[in-house]
Amino acid sequence: MVSVDSLYDKIKRWTVEFVGGSGYSNQMTGYMTGELQTVVFTLILASLFRIFSIPLGMVLLIAVAAALLYFAPMIVHVERESSNDLNRVLFWVVIYFAVIIAVTLWGR
């Protein structure tokens, strides 16, 4: 039996699973657009790694694509990690700062 669902219906059903509430609410459009944007942005960011090293950039791009598929829906994680909870912000600042120092010292 062939499914009569369009691609839109499939994506909507999948998104509703993690959004909850009405499938036609304005929050729903935000979450769906957000999910798409996050994936696109992350892939573009990964491709920017070619500035440092093209072969490493290619590896990173594939790894990121795999990670996006594995952790989907991404938007839930993005929202949680972008919480304004002080502990979480401090945690990310420490990680982030470590990366900056690592990259700059490596660049030297």
Binding site: N26, Y31, T33, I44, L48, S82, V89, L105
Partner: protein, 515 residues
Amino acid sequence: MTESISNLWSIALLVTIPIFATIIVNLLFNRNRAIKYISLISALSLVVITILSPYGFQWFTGQPALNPNTLTFTFDASIPAWRMALEFYFGPLQQVLIFVMALILVLVIGIATNGLTKNQGPYIGMIFLLFMSAAIIIMVNDLYHLWIAVEIGSLVVVGVVAASGEGIGQKAALKYALFSALSGAGLAIALALILGLTGYSNISDAIRYIQTTNLAGMSSILYVAFGFFILSWIYAGGLVPIHPLKSEVYGAAFPHGTAMLQAQSKLMLVAIGLVMLRLFGSLPFAREVMLSISVLTMMLGVVMALLQTDLRWILAYLIVSHSGLVTVGISLGTYDALVGGLFQAVNDVLYMSVLLLGCEAVYYFGKGTSTKTAVGIAKKAPWLALAMVLGTFAASGIPPFNGFQSKIILIQSALKVGLPEVAVVILILSVTTFIALFRGIYSIFLKPAETTPLAVSGSVPSEAQEDDKETPIPRGLYLSLAILVVITLILGVYPDLVIRFLTPVAQAVSIPWYP
């Protein structure tokens, strides 16, 4: 030495007028009428001073500079020399940025003095100090003043947010205060390292020393200083990963207060960004790091804006996201990119102010700014709806508004340096900004109010009763919106009105992407 010191009068006034205004309105405390006139006159005088002032230097503490070639003292700013005094500079970039900030100050004071009923004095005082800190940061050319102004600026941000009187505002202010202590200390360490390495507190002298001296063995120290500068930069502008705290600050303050906060934030981003570009721009990987932070900020800010259901929070995250656009230009560091980034800073302050003041006006309908509660306002306030839609067009980079001009320059400069990815991100950001804003604006202004079955039975307040909660929007708010919308339109059609002020600094500071 026969030459005499030629300190520029306007620099001192741009710093002292806000301080005196703060003291006076604090003393007046609750005498609202007096506060209104004094603060409006002070703010207008700042606009006039910015327009009339010539360009020049102010040497605070007054020591002359030492010319290293002739070992003679001089007050001539055009001679490369070691400057002992704490130095301020007022040039074309400072003129245009301080003018925009002063204009927003006038409009915000007009709105705040009409809207607030109690404790006006301290609140207006803090708004003035916000202006002062931003003016110092953008004019300063020495590391001490930069640090002090950033510290003052962060404390004043805390005050403005806490003054919103809501629990969420005070919580956000406390968090921001805790964090600013960390970042302020970080900046102090960076300055100490640069001072230790070069021996100069003057930024131009330190840069000249770094460029002319072989620092191969000491470059680790420069990188650590760069790391601490980055910390200060991300904190000042709310870049990733501080974006949740800064957007909380924007979302929790009064919208007119946020208009000033975001203007101050953009000026801080530009000032610290330019100092970083001048000090560290030629270090390998430094600009790449700055660019990565900028692109991440654009991305996370706009994605988080999509998830919000309150206009205040949508705007809060978009302000953060668009800060990334400004820093993309500064990070690329080429002539075109710098012009685009600096122009974006000006445009951003203007169109975000349109949207924030429009958001403030939504409060007058008594249902808050949530997309779930405030609906169908366009019917009651069509001009407000029009201003918000035009503000959205400007923010989304739709011609003929100002946002289009700066974004197109940024996109072209990203393509020119061989980074089409950055151009694509800017393009997506524009489209997503439109979606995020229009979701909110559609719900609040255009969506008709739903009639529930209960409404028929008469058990919920009737429309007439609900209208009781509404207060007429002050004419001053409409006037402010009209002024800002017209400016966004004029700058969209004649971008050279601002760009000609930005080109001198872009020429002086720019560095090729791959030297």
